[in-house]
Structures are given as structure tokens and as C-alpha cells.
């Protein structure tokens, strides 16, 4: 009866109350940051003494914030495209291939997700220092592609495993070339997986802090590096404004994902 929602009695009251409290705990920081970004207190007092848009004005007046955001977007877009393309090819090999060591290969390609980022960060930083890629956009993109790759491979392999290969074979029997069959039959069928892969890969790079802290140069820094630097200095409300915009972006991504999924799965 512990798994019958209707018959938990007093226990249900307690557990639903607890769940609501945890949901509030998860929502609390996000809501507070957005509220505080409109508050007039320099010291982030709550409730704010008044409401203002000046932190947003300061944010948009400062070219380093805009630069950092554009850099982040550029690097994340490139890393996401690379990760999805490379991940798509790798997924076909992982799901369809018939060779020994397939599981080992899967494990290897997913390792960057498991290894503590700080280990990879200093390793790739040292390596790039040696070959002259440290502080360059290419270096950033390579490092972020590696971190984004597992997030692309997992949804694509999952979608591919759920796709019945005999449909592709049927297309070939009907006269399509293997390449045509893949492009016209298989890819459209796993588009939800590819779409999820793109979102996750983008976010993996966009939100990445640790590698970015090491890789950044005075002329090349991403948004998380900019925020990190500001946080180490003080708790300026400008960061709250920047953070609120990031929350807004997350919400937009969630809504777009939900809508697209509904549309694509129809």
C-alpha cells in the first residue's frame, strides 16, 4: 500500500508536504536571483527597498559582458555542431557495428563525462600550452567538443537503438542506396535524439566553467569565466542581472524543447 498514492493516509500528507518543500528549495535560488536583479539594493538586500533596471543597463553598457556572451555563444555553437556530427557517426558504429571492443569504445567515448573536469582541464591546458593552442578559439572549441561528445552520443545512440533497422533495409530493397536510406529514412526517424543531442551539447559548452577558467586569456573569455571573475571580486547585482538572463535562456530552451518534441514526435 506504500505505493498506492490513494491509500497512504497521513503518510501522504507528510510526504507531499516534504516534496513541496524540496520543490520550493529547488525553485528558491532561481526565483530570488531574478527578483534581486530588479532590486535597487547594491548589497542585494531582500526584500529590495525599490525596483530598478539599472543593473541591466550597466550590464549592457559594459562591452566585456557582451563580448563574453558572444564568445560563449560562438564556441558553444561550434562545439555543439562538431559534437553532434562526430557523435552521430560514432553512434552508428556503436549501435550498428559488429566488432569486438564495441562496449569498450562506448566506455572510452563517454569517459570525458565521468572524469573530474579539473583533471581534464589541467591536462588539456598543459597540452595546449605546449602546442600553442592555449587561449585560442580553436583550443576552446576542441576542449568543449570533447566534453560535449558524451552528451551528444547518449541521446543519439538511445534513439538509434529504438529505431528498427529493418525499416532502413526495406528502403534499400525498394531501391534506395544505403546512403539515401540513412539520410531519408533513418535520420528523420531519430531526429528527436539528434535534437536533444544538440541542446545538451550546446549547454555542456555554454555552462562549462573549469576548462574555461584555465583556457581563458585576457582577450578571450566566455560568459562563465566573466561571471566567475566577478564573483571572486564581489557579489555585484550586475551578476544577478546576467544570471537572470541565463535563467530566461534556460526557460526558453525548455519551452522550445518541449514544443519541438511534441511537434517532432507527432
Amino acid at each position: 500500500m506504500l505505493l498506492d498514492y490513494e491509500r497512504l493516509g497521513w503518510l501522504r500528507v507528510a510526504l507531499v508536504g516534504f516534496t513541496a518543500a524540496v520543490a520550493a528549495f529547488l525553485l528558491l535560488p532561481v526565483v530570488f536571483i531574478v527578483l534581486l536583479s530588479f532590486g535597487s539594493s547594491r548589497w542585494l538586500a531582500f526584500p529590495p527597498p525599490g525596483w530598478t533596471l539599472k543593473w541591466y543597463e550597466q550590464l549592457f553598457a559594459d562591452p566585456t559582458w557582451i563580448d563574453a556572451a558572444l564568445t560563449s555563444a560562438r564556441i558553444a555553437a561550434m562545439a555543439a555542431i562538431l559534437a553532434v556530427v562526430i557523435g552521430l557517426f560514432a553512434s552508428f558504429a556503436l549501435v550498428r557495428g559488429e566488432f569486438r571492443g564495441r562496449q569498450l569504445l562506448r566506455g572510452l567515448l563517454l569517459t570525458p563525462m565521468v572524469l573530474p573536469v579539473v583533471v581534464f582541464a589541467i591536462a588539456i591546458y598543459a597540452f595546449f600550452l605546449r602546442i600553442g593552442l592555449a587561449g585560442t578559439t580553436i583550443g576552446f572549441v576542441i576542449a568543449h567538443t570533447i566534453l560535449a561528445l558524451p552528451f551528444a552520443i547518449i541521446p543519439i545512440t538511445a534513439a538509434l537503438e529504438g529505431f528498427d533497422k529493418s525499416i532502413e533495409d526495406a528502403a534499400i530493397v525498394c531501391g534506395a542506396s544505403p546512403l539515401q536510406a540513412r539520410l531519408k529514412i533513418t535520420l528523420p526517424s531519430i531526429r528527436i535524439g539528434i535534437f536533444s543531442a544538440a541542446i545538451f551539447a550546446f549547454l555542456a559548452s555554454w555552462d562549462e566553467v573549469v576548462v574555461a577558467i584555465f583556457m581563458a586569456s585576457p582577450t578571450l573569455q566566455t560568459l562563465p569565466v566573466k561571471i566567475w571573475g566577478s564573483l571572486r571580486a564581489d557579489l555585484s547585482p550586475v551578476v544577478a542581472a546576467a544570471s537572470s538572463l541565463l535563467v530566461g535562456l534556460t526557460l526558453c530552451l525548455m519551452i522550445v524543447t518541449a514544443l519541438l518534441r511534441r511537434k517532432l514526435s507527432r
Partner: protein
């Protein structure tokens, strides 16, 4: 499907060709740098194990190790305790209410890590909302030290780890047949007995797998402990970063990184075995 033998090129095994770009990328820019780093731990500044000797011989570093394990253990324990009831309800709730909670979990999970940590810095500071609220309610008279200490790290990390524990646990709990619990009730087990003897043991594999994952992730966490923790309870990841970035002691930093890598990978291997399938969870 022998009718459609896929072409294999350059003598590669059938169907493996697609993995070549990924393998090249990961091999050249992941395996090589990491191996080079590990080699550095026994060659920099000179060949030998002096970096490891320094690491394990110094009280400061040993304290960092112990503190890292302590924080990871506390975070894991608190995360499990908080996540279990939530996962339980999410597993059996009517979907209309449940999807709201799921939405909140996903929102918090997708929100920028620095944003979330920054929010907790603001909330937990001496003059922050939580201290003011507690003082306003008359529960405390002096502001509680909630930041730059174990409490701050725990709150911030639990916040980040909760989704990673809740979501897989919901799967575990949904896989348990409610009839089993009804059978336990008819056998005479009241709510407490049914929980202790049936529900908890049946969800233990999920708790263990999720808990181990949270523990492993916590061990190597950098951002949140660096911002919410204090100098007296520094964690391993921050120490590695500082050793390399500020002290430029690459040999020692590499050795510490190697220790972190070995512990992480060993625990991860156990976690994979617990989950059963040879595939990490997460993704969605």
C-alpha cells in the same frame, strides 16, 4: 541481415568506420593530454615518486583528501535522505501534479551552474535572506555562519546533486510492483514494517547506484566548493587547480590529479556494476 553487408574501409572491422573521427578526437585531445599529465607527476621536476611522497607526507594535503571525502560523504548522505521521499512521491503521484515538480527539477538542473551557486552565495551570506528571515522570526539572534564552511558547501552541493539522485530513483521505484506492497500489507506489515522490510530493500540498488554517482561527482567538484566553501576545508579539485595555476607546481598538481582520477574511476567501475548495464545513466 546478411543481405546488406556494410562496406568496411581500410581494413577496419565492419561498421566501425564511423567511430574513427570520435576516436581520433578523444585519443589526441583527451587520452594523450591525460596520460602526459600523469607522466608529468613522476617526471616533474625530476623522475621519481617525490610528488606522491610530498602529497601523502604533508598534513595539509592529507587534510584536503580527508575533507574531500568527508564533504562528498555528507553531501551524498543528505542528498539520499532528501531525494528518497521526493522520488517516492514522484513515482506514484498523479502525473498532473508530478509534472510540475519534474519541471522544477529540470529547470534547476538546466540553470547555469554558476548562477545557482551565486544565488546560494547571496542567500547564505551573513546579511543574506536566510539569516535575516531567521532573525526576523526570532529563531536566532546572531547571524549563522552559513557560507565559507561545511554548511555552505553541503547546501550548495546537495542543491546541485538532488536531480541526479531523484531522477534515477523515480525509475527504480516505478519498477517496483505496487502489488508487492499490498501483499506486504495483507501479510500484516504496517507502514513502518513494509517500508523497512520491503520498500527500502527493494529500492536499495537504485539508492546505492545513485548515491555512488553523487559521491563520485562530489569528489571532483570544483566550482561550488570553491565559492561556498572556506579556506580551512578546501577540496581536492580546488587544491589541484591552485597548485597548478597559482603555485605553478605541475608535478604535485599532476600527482593529486592522478589520485583523483584513480579513485573516481574505481568508484565509477563499481557504480557501473551496480547499475548492471554497461552504460552510464543520465543524458536526459
Amino acid at each position: 541481415m546478411t543481405a546488406f553487408k556494410r562496406q568496411s574501409f581500410a581494413g577496419l572491422p565492419a561498421g566501425s568506420g564511423g567511430a574513427v573521427p570520435a576516436l581520433l578526437l578523444v585519443g589526441l585531445f583527451f587520452i594523450v593530454p591525460v596520460v602526459a599529465l600523469l607522466l608529468r607527476s613522476v617526471t616533474d621536476p625530476e623522475p621519481g615518486l617525490q610528488n606522491y611522497a610530498a602529497l601523502f607526507g604533508s598534513g595539509t594535503y592529507v587534510r584536503v583528501f580527508l575533507n574531500t571525502f568527508l564533504v562528498a560523504a555528507v553531501v551524498t548522505a543528505v542528498t539520499i535522505l532528501v531525494a528518497f521521499p521526493v522520488a517516492w512521491m514522484l513515482a506514484i503521484m498523479p502525473p498532473a501534479i508530478g509534472s510540475i515538480v519534474f519541471g522544477i527539477i529540470i529547470l534547476s538542473m538546466w540553470t547555469n551552474l554558476l548562477t545557482r551557486t551565486y544565488a546560494w552565495m547571496v542567500l547564505l551570506q551573513r546579511t543574506g535572506v536566510i539569516n535575516r528571515a531567521l532573525m526576523g522570526l526570532g529563531i536566532i539572534h546572531e547571524p549563522l555562519p552559513l557560507i565559507n564552511n561545511l554548511a555552505g558547501v553541503t547546501i550548495g552541493m546537495v542543491y546541485i546533486m538532488l536531480p541526479f539522485m531523484i531522477l534515477p530513483l523515480v525509475g527504480t521505484l516505478r519498477a517496483i510492483d505496487p502489488m508487492t506492497l499490498r501483499a506486504a500489507a495483507l501479510c500484516g506489515a504496517g507502514p513502518f514494517q513494509a517500508f523497512r522490510r520491503i520498500l527500502l530493500p527493494l529500492s536499495l540498488p537504485g539508492i546505492a547506484a545513485g548515491g555512488l554517482m553523487v559521491f563520485v561527482m562530489s569528489l571532483g567538484y570544483f566550482v561550488t566548493p570553491a565559492l561556498l566553501g572556506g579556506t580551512s576545508n578546501m577540496m581536492l579539485a580546488e587544491m589541484i587547480a591552485q597548485t597548478v595555476q597559482s603555485l605553478l607546481n605541475w608535478g604535485l598538481g599532476s600527482a593529486a590529479a592522478f589520485v583523483l582520477l584513480v579513485v573516481t574511476m574505481a568508484l565509477y567501475a563499481i557504480q557501473l556494476r551496480l547499475v548492471g548495464a554497461g552504460r552510464p545513466g543520465g543524458g536526459l
